[in-house]
Symmetry: C2
Subunit: 135 residues, 2 copies
């Protein structure tokens, strides 16, 4: 019985793996084995924990999406550019407004997110892809 099948079984699944998924699993199996050996724990246990960790990350991302949707168009623009790492001055130049206005929008959107700084915003939305806003 393969590791993946062990995992699926642990998770209560009884599906067979197709060929594509198996290839991806090969590298995962290797990583999992390395990690499990390092931790001296069974692979399936390590895998379950890693999944739990990853899913928690996703749940937080879901909540942030709801907050994102409450932003005004302008606030979303500013938020995206903040997360892309631009300074107020750079954002201002891009949106043809003043840096002070950027700060105002930043303040407002942070309030809607319930965050205290743009660093927190960048941290909260770290897994998001804002490349579409970077034209």
């Amino acid at each position: 019985m393969s590791l993946w099948q062990q995992l699926l079984r642990l998770l209560g699944y009884h599906k067979t793996t197709d060929r594509f998924t198996f290839e991806a699993d090969a590298s995962l199996i290797h990583s999992l084995q390395g990690l499990a050996k390092q931790q001296r724990r069974p692979e399936h246990e390590v895998a379950a924990e890693l999944l739990s960790f990853a899913i928690a990350q996703r749940d937080a991302a879901e909540q942030n999406l709801q907050r994102w949707e409450q932003l005004s168009p302008r606030e979303q623009q500013v938020a995206a550019l903040i997360c892309l790492g631009y300074t107020n001055r750079q954002i201002a130049a891009r949106l043809t407004i003043s840096p002070e206005t950027v700060k105002t929008h930043a303040r407002n959107l942070l309030l809607k997110f319930g965050l205290g700084s743009r660093e927190e915003l960048r941290f909260a939305l770290a897994g998001w892809d804002f490349s579409a806003w970077d034209r």
Copy 2:
């Protein structure tokens, strides 16, 4: 408890009973199903991706530990307090040095980490527990 042990603990290095693991799996199944449904993808595929993501996080943490160990005692102090969210002034007061000196140590430790700002440091070490440095 050493920092390494703290880190391992944060990374979830602890023994669990079969029973605990089983309970965790039930919630995992639920979460996985929800996520897979949302993404309209097979559960095992989503799980593989999540695992991949989680393992990448772990690898990065390992690398950061090596960099941490290259820091001088003072640099570790400053790094820990930075990650706990203190300002230069606050750190200076605590270590009875000037804020300028804090900045110098910050500069030096960031160089050793290969990072550009304290925000990046806080991001890189986000999963670490620095409470022991917060007396």
